[in-house]
Amino acid sequence: MNLSYRIYHVFVRNLVSYKRFVVPTFLVSLIEPLFYLITFGIGMGAYMGYFGGKPYLYFLVPGVLVSSVMMSSTFECLYGTFVKMVHERLYDSLIATPVSAEDAVAGDIVWGAFRGLVSGTLMMLVAVAMGILPVSIPSVLLLLVLMVFVGILFGSLAMIVTSISPSFDFFNYYTELVITPMLFFSGVFFPLDRFPAWMRSLSEFMPLTHAVKISRAVFSGEYHAKYIWNFLVIFALEVVAFAVGVRMMKKRLIK
């Protein structure tokens, strides 16, 4: 793989273009998770009682944090990248410069992760405003680090989909058949204990499940060695998805 520091230039290009869309994207990345927090958290939470001695919102917020990262980085690397590749032909002019195809794609994945980080951070601020606080400052920092890893993972996975996508419509398969189920079967909204054993095993194959577990533990300060396993799952998948995503995009970009 021909990667270089020029990833940074690609990232900055996205940042320059982003300043025009800051307000709308802030709104979009807030509204969906906010919707979950209000409906599930306050509406349904009233009937849920206490989870492990704390209000339901403490259960819900850490899950919504990582799922908003998942959503933002996924959509950025699906639609954002597709527009740049097919409609604006931005990649064509990029690869004619010393920026390689790998730099360009990796720069967009990092950008997707950044967008995820922004969404997650916004959610955290909303949660704080609602009085739902992470347990300590280190726990906030760890959550931010986790968001970066989650963002790169889902950005890379989305890049694989984008690399084989003939049109926008194709993305629906991925979002409806992979991302949406993941949201509901990863323990974001309710614990997975009541599911039959096979469903629980299935959820172990969903990367979001692992991210939610770590997020919840870090949020409440329950650090435990067993979460290293969850992190390794995310990290391993991320390395593979990144390498495959970059390679498949390169194949599409260079003919």
Partner: protein, 305 residues
């Protein structure tokens, strides 16, 4: 002048399709070298291999002594590309487009700022500095592409059909700028379907068709050797061909029948004109031979899809 680019048996295949079929050529430093050909002749595929965005299938290709290769950043560093399609960054302003592009070449901010000022002046877009891309006319967009291609002070400039869809004013401005760059020593590679463009800019041309180079040379010499000096078009029914060809054969170098027209090519039009006056034919048009005649003669006058 030294040889800047060397291609030997250069071949490009896309699955079953052979876009470039074992062509060889040399491009000298500081010249303007033109690739002419109809759509699908393999011009763009060839130049994409030269500026290292498309890998060759087989053959040998060097640029300034360096092997042309998809990951060859050194070649890309000294090359400017005016692409066929308008690939400007529509999320950014004119100025931002150039700033961002300069960063891709690691041009320091301050140098970039000065260079952008110069280039906006060069392509007469100073007034549009802070405009968004969709507020520009096609001609302005093309000029911005020229400016963008020059940010890194390229030694090699690749212009892939740079004036497609432009009005005459914009086209002439781009031609003037390209000639100016050539006079500054930039090696220029031009692909075009416009014969006038090739005649205006190119020192040497090749005519490509179906992935092959059909002929190579100086534009005017090609016209002389392939066609002659003048072309006479006669619009008459086909049945009369035999009689007229018989009459004119001693004076012409060749003839061709396409659709409703009989073409005669000749070195010296005077004798033919006199003969034609004797024959008193209607619908005759005598004109100087052009590169377009060479092009059409070699690539066929039929439609190429």
């Amino acid at each position: 002048m030294g040889i800047f680019i060397t291609a030997r048996d250069l071949t490009k295949k896309y699955d079953e399709l052979t876009a470039v079929n074992a062509i060889s050529f040399d491009i000298r430093e500081g010249e303007c070298f033109g690739f002419l050909g109809p759509n699908g002749a393999g011009k763009t595929s060839t130049v994409k291999m030269i500026h290292c965005v498309s890998p060759m299938t087989s053959g040998h290709l060097t640029v300034n002594g360096l092997p042309a290769h998809i990951d060859n950043r050194a070649v890309k560093m000294m090359t400017g590309v005016i692409p066929q399609e308008i690939t400007l960054d529509s999320d950014l302003t004119v100025y931002e487009n150039l700033v961002v592009f300069a960063s891709f070449f690691d041009i320091p901010r301050r140098d970039a700022r000065a260079r952008i000022g110069e280039l906006l002046k060069f392509v007469e877009l100073e007034a549009k500095r802070d405009s968004k891309i969709d507020q520009l006319s096609t001609g302005m967009k093309r000029r911005l592409l020229v400016a963008r291609a020059l940010l890194n002070h390229p030694r090699l400039l690749v212009a892939d059909e740079p004036t497609t869809g432009l009005d005459p004013q914009a086209r002439h401005l781009i031609w003037q700028r390209l000639r100016q760059l050539k006079s500054e020593g930039v090696t220029l590679i031009l692909t075009t379907q416009y014969m006038e463009e090739a005649q205006q800019l190119c020192d040497r041309i090749v005519i490509m068709h179906q992935g092959k180079i059909l002929t190579e040379g100086l534009p005017l010499e090609l016209v002389e050797s392939e066609i002659g000096r003048e072309v006479i078009e006669i619009r008459i029914p086909k049945e009369e061909d035999e009689r007229i060809v018989g009459q004119l054969a001693p004076f012409s170098c060749g003839h061709e029948r396409v659709g409703d027209t009989l073409y005669f090519y000749c070195r010296d039009g005077h004798d033919v004109a006199r003969k034609l006056a004797e024959l008193d034919l209607p619908n005759i048009w005598t004109r100087p031979a052009s590169l377009e005649d060479v092009f059409l003669k070699l690539t066929g006058r039929g439609l190429i899809e």
